[in-house]
């Protein structure tokens, strides 16, 4: 018996060596463990044997069975591992091939700048307010201390629709509307982004349509220093922490005193370069203390209230910040131009 068992073991060993696939292994399983398998055959005529013999055969065959089973399963594991590896290798890709161009759209650079400015002022408690682009001369000029025939109207040559209506030349009428609408005459803190229109022939630096953001704060103790502090935050947020600002006296009919605001050049830091035309400063916006006539006309008592206002040209900010040379680029919308702005911005 022992001899037979050893023979079978030996044969198994030989057989196992020849196996190279799962199929062959299955055949081997049948050969040894199947209904007509070698081990089954060992116990076939057990009925004719003595109890002793049966015990012995049983012991030998069980031991053999477990030996065969474990040998086969070990090989089975090895084989399946190999097959998996082969399959994985077979599924090899070239990861250096181009990825599928998943497309998302993007924000227009003017919107990007507008949103950044809005976010800043909303975080300081300003409300974002809009108004109509087809506006009354009354709100666009007259209530801003620019009566008909005022020479300063020349600077804002406008598209008139009728004698009394026009395409607004500034977003300031929204300030007037907001002050008028506030019946309780409480504090006001708003910014008004929007499209404005002036009779300029379109060229690299002029556009008959452009985007403005105006800010207005009206309160009981608002000073020029408050305007300066507010615009300092604005300049640093949009053009970098190191920016300084400079107020140059100027004239706008709706503010008194009025100032043009320059920021220290973000390119050269004030040393002088072609961006700041070697002055170290870049003109960025107009501002001032709200003219008492404007407050008065809107129902705010100028003895009690003061305020400041400022106006920013969004195109100008975007042109400076991104180095855009032609204002028309914002309106021709070349997709290659738009795609440039579709990413997170670094500081430099």
């Amino acid at each position: 018996m022992e001899k037979i068992v050893e023979e079978i073991k030996k044969e198994l060993e030989e057989d196992l060596k020849k196996i190279s696939s799962m199929n062959e292994l299955n055949d081997l399983k049948v050969k040894y463990l199947g209904k007509k398998g070698k081990i089954t055959l060992l116990t076939k005529d057990m009925g004719n044997r003595s109890v002793e013999e049966r015990k012995e055969i049983g012991r030998y065959s069980n031991e053999l069975k477990s030996h065969v089973t474990s040998s086969i399963s070990q090989l089975e594991q090895e084989l399946s591992q190999k097959e998996l590896e082969a399959k994985l290798e077979n599924d090899r890709i070239d990861p250096t091939l181009p990825g599928t161009a998943v497309k998302v759209g993007g924000v227009h650079p003017l919107t990007k700048v507008t949103e950044e400015i809005e976010d800043l002022f909303v975080s300081m408690g300003y409300d974002v307010v809009s108004g109509p682009e087809v506006e009354l001369d009354l709100y666009n000029f007259e209530m801003l201390n620019l009566p008909k025939g005022h020479p300063a109207r020349d600077a804002q040559d406008s598209f008139y629709i009728t004698e009394d209506t026009l395409l607004r030349s500034q977003t300031s009428p929204v300030q007037v509307r907001t002050m008028l609408k506030n019946k309780e005459k409480t504090e006001i803190r708003i910014i008004c982004p929007g499209k404005v229109y002036r009779r300029d022939d379109d060229d690299a630096t002029h556009s008959h349509q452009f985007t403005q953001i105006e800010g207005l704060v009206v309160g009981k103790n608002i000073s020029l220093a408050d305007l300066k502090g507010t615009l300092e935050i604005f300049a640093k947020k949009l053009f970098g922490e190191d920016r300084e600002i400079r107020f140059r006296p100027s004239y706008f009919p709706f503010t008194e005193p009025s100032y043009e605001v320059d920021i220290s050049c973000f390119r050269c830091g004030g040393k002088g370069c072609n961006i700041c035309k070697n002055t170290g400063w870049i003109e960025i916006l107009g501002s001032g203390m709200v003219h008492p006539n404007v407050l008065q006309m809107a129902g705010y008592d100028p003895k009690e209230y003061t305020g400041f206002a400022f106006g920013i040209g969004v195109e100008r900010v975007a042109m400076l910040r991104y180095g855009v040379n032609d204002i028309r680029s914002f309106y021709t919308n070349d997709l290659r131009f738009l795609e440039t702005y579709n990413r997170v911005e670094g500081d430099k």
Binding site: P98, A101, V107, V129, V134, H150, A225, S250, E256, L335
Partner: protein
């Protein structure tokens, strides 16, 4: 305003301030400058004397000259000017000189003859063509006898001047005069202004015997007239000519030049009439409708009742404040003139000037004048005519004056100044500013009473004085602070907030936001709509391309598409959100619109065989995604119907929400674009107005779903939507999802028919469904579809 440095120096001591520092100092107080330009840009020039002038041996027009340029210094110079002659004093540029055109003068040989310098014309040394006399335009400039050989001709000609061109703000009418500039510079440098000389030598006769004035319109609040006799017209002195040139005005003759000189100096435009042609009466009145006047430039002008004219008894002789009449012009033989110094209604001048010509004079009238200067200018003109043009001034001034000459008195406190500026200035700081400005000021405790001279027409209220303090003192010490105010949250307007959400979502769906012009051409206004409305048109458009306010955004998007396609950019996914304006029932209406356009490839990986092209259904997918995002799931439909003619008639649909039409989606009609373009446009105002419910969590069902498929054969005309409607209606609440998974035409399908296959999902969130009850519903659906749509079940 072009300011001559020499002119300014007559009235204020500018010390050793360089041109640049002067300009910068002015900028700091609010007067920006555009440029600083020397009147003459040449160096190394000397006065030369042409001792000998012979024809060039080898040229028919050039001369060889022996020119004395200093003691014992005679140079041989070849000159091509036609007017060169022996005995002339001329401007010579010696070797080493650099001319404004960049040319460097060198010793050279011209056609075999040595030439040691160049004899110059005024143009060659940098005097603009328009300032030169006819003779000077044609040849070299011949100096007068008294020019000293070897000296600097620039100094001799008074050309040693610089022009600073200021860009003044609209309020500073006072700076449109050299005197005004002098006061401003005086405030900066803390120097006092010297006033111009006006004292006459003699006065004769009485003006009342020669002239009368009759002011018939209230549009002329101040009119002064004087008579000057016996003038001798000649060129004006060199210094005056040079100053006029530096100020941008062409010298003509002594009389005309004086009128311009006084305007520049005092800021008060004058007019000189030839007394011969004027007659002895001046009438100021409004023009008759249709009245004609030929102005100085020789053009016949058609006048209206809005124009102020100066007339004699018979006819108009000038357009007040804008241009004189040809019929009373000062001429070469003029001897007696009437001087007009007046103030007219700025609005009327503005109106007439806009129509006829905006001149140096009208610019000053429009901005408002100081009546005291009107008198000063008259006195100054008489003085100069007497001194420089040999005139004799007739005694007396005819005057009609309704103006207020009083200086404004404005009280102000230190507290107010510091409160507005956010600074802490002392009384001394404030007094210093007013003293520098030459304003009279009285101080009492911390209050001031400021008397503002009439020249400062821009100052009327406290705030104007505060501005002056800020300007002259400077606000560098003003430290930025933030407003002390009530804490509150910042908000976005509702409409704006919603549009931002839509914008972000469309970007996530692959579209780029664009910005286009509101003003479009006439043709575009009525495109992509069948609505009834009246477009808004601007009265005076700049170009035909931008004359009307758009109603649809799609023409603009089409333009963006064609711009990109022309530049070989083929994949164009874009959208725009914008308000549009139009008139309906005579009222101006405002509507927000959203338009989108796609063309080209939407998703691509060529080597991997992925390519999704833009088509109707891609666009529809974007639209549906957006509407679902807006919470409108199951409330919108996209159905066939009548569309504006710019859409493809069979590849377009109407978009409805709650049965209300809100827009269109489809392919742009192929006649409008060779490249297939797919678009949609929504009335966003309508969409934004729709109320949607808040989000409530729905428990995800634990129970299994049962899925069933079927396909029907139907007529081609039967829409998927109608089938889906029947299926959903019949299926009831247990039918939770329907997908169209196949549409087939062709082999095995009869002509005019199509097969359409659906996958249905059944589910009950409260229990497990059994097969029998699902089959019952399923069979009912089949029955209903067959009945309602004449459909034939193909597969189940």
């Amino acid at each position: 305003m072009k300011l001559s440095r020499n002119f300014l120096k007559d009235y204020i001591d500018i010390k050793n301030l360089s041109d640049h520092d002067l300009a910068e100092a002015m900028t700091k107080v609010g007067n920006e400058y555009d440029s600083i330009t020397p009147l003459v840009g040449a160096s190394h020039l000397v006065v030369g004397y042409v001792k000998e002038c012979k024809n060039h041996p080898d040229s028919d027009h050039m001369h060889v000259c022996q020119v004395e340029v200093g003691q014992n210094d005679v140079r041989q110079i070849v000159c091509g000017a036609p007017n060169i002659k022996e005995g002339q004093k001329v401007i010579v540029s010696l070797p080493g000189a650099v001319l404004p055109n960049g040319m460097t003068i060198k010793k050279s040989v011209i056609r075999g003859v040595e030439s040691d310098g160049m004899i110059c014309s005024l143009g060659e040394i940098g005097i603009e063509h328009k300032y030169q006399s006819e003779a000077d335009q044609k040849g070299i400039h011949v100096l007068e006898e008294d020019a000293e050989i070897g000296t600097d001709p620039i100094a001799y000609l008074c050309f040693d001047d610089t022009t600073i061109d200021f860009e003044l703000t609209a309020n500073r009418a006072d700076l449109l005069s050299v005197l005004g500039m002098a006061y401003e510079v005086g405030a900066i440098l803390n120097e006092k202004v010297k006033l111009p000389e006006t004292k006459l030598q003699t006065e004769v006769e009485r003006i009342e015997d020669h002239l009368q004035i009759d002011i018939q319109t209230e549009n002329c609040p101040l009119y002064l007239a004087r008579l000057v006799k016996g003038l001798k017209i000649a060129p004006s002195p060199k210094w005056m000519q040079a100053r006029l040139m530096a100020s941008g005005i062409r010298p003509i003759n002594n009389v005309v030049d004086i009128s311009n000189y006084v305007m520049l100096e005092e800021g008060q435009p004058l007019h000189f009439f030839d007394y011969r042609t004027l007659g002895n009466k001046i009438v100021v009145r409004m023009a008759e409708e249709g009245e004609k006047l030929t102005t100085l430039d020789g053009k016949e002008r058609n006048l209206s009742r809005e124009d102020i004219v100066i007339a004699n008894d018979d006819h108009a002789v000038g357009l007040a404040g804008v241009m004189g009449g040809l019929n009373s012009e000062v001429e070469q033989d003029t001897q007696d003139i009437v001087i007009e110094s007046a103030i007219f209604n700025p609005l009327k001048i503005r109106y007439t000037a806009k129509k006829i010509l905006r001149s140096e004079a009208s610019a000053r009238f429009e901005k408002g004048l100081d009546p005291n200067r009107t008198y000063l200018a008259m006195a100054r003109a008489c003085y100069l005519l007497e001194k420089l043009a040999g005139g004799t001034v007739v005694k007396g001034t005819l005057a009609v004056d309704h103006t207020n000459h009083d200086a404004k008195v404005i009280p102000i406190t230190k507290e107010k100044i510091n409160r507005v500026l956010g600074m802490s200035l002392t009384n001394q700081d404030i007094l210093d500013v007013f003293h520098r400005l030459d304003f009279e000021v009285q101080e009492q405790d911390d209050s001031f009473t400021v008397t503002v001279p009439t020249r400062r027409v821009d100052i009327a209220i406290e705030e104007d004085l505060i501005e002056e303090v800020g300007r002259i003192h400077g606000i560098d010490q003003c430290k930025g602070t933030l407003p002390v105010t009530t804490m509150k949250n910042g908000t976005y307007e509702e409409k704006y907030k919603k549009e931002k959400l839509i914008q972000k979502h469309l970007e996530a769906l692959g579209l780029y936001q664009v910005r286009t012009y509101t003003l479009v051409n006439q043709e575009s206004v009525n495109m992509f709509t069948d609505d009834e409305f009246t477009p808004i048109v601007v009265r005076d458009p700049l170009t035909e391309d931008h004359l009307a306010l758009r109603y649809s955004l799609l023409p603009s998007l089409l333009e963006v598409a064609s711009y990109n396609l022309a530049r070989k950019v083929k994949n164009i996914p874009i959208f725009e959100i914008s308000d549009v304006y139009y008139t309906k029932d005579k009222k101006t209406m405002q509507t927000a619109r959203l338009a989108a356009l796609i063309t080209g490839t939407m998703l691509e990986n060529t080597w991997n065989h992925i390519k999704v092209e833009a088509d109707f259904f891609y666009m529809k997918g974007i639209l549906e995604n957006l509407l679902n995002y807006l919470g409108l799931n199951r409330r919108y439909t996209i159905e066939t119907g009548k569309l504006p003619k710019e859409y493809h008639p069979y590849q377009s649909a109407i978009v409805k929400i709650d049965q209300d039409v809100v827009g269109y989606i489809g392919m742009v009609h192929p006649t409008l674009s060779k490249t297939p373009l797919y678009v949609f446009e929504l009335d966003l105002s309508k969409v934004e107005a729709i109320q949607v419910r808040g989000i409530k969590d729905k428990e995800i069902s634990k129970y299994p779903t049962i899925s069933k498929d079927f396909a029907f054969l139907v007529e081609n005309s039967v829409s998927a939507k109608s089938l889906l409607d029947t299926i959903q209606k019949t299926g009831g609440r247990l039918l939770t999802n329907i997908e169209v998974f196949d549409v087939y035409q062709g082999e095995n399908i009869a002509e005019g028919k199509k097969s359409i296959a659906f996958n249905l999902t059944f589910m009950d969130p409260t229990r497990t469904l059994n097969e029998e009850e699902v089959m019952e519903i399923f069979n009912k659906i089949i029955e209903q579809v067959e009945k309602e749509h004449n459909a034939e079940l193909r597969d189940k």
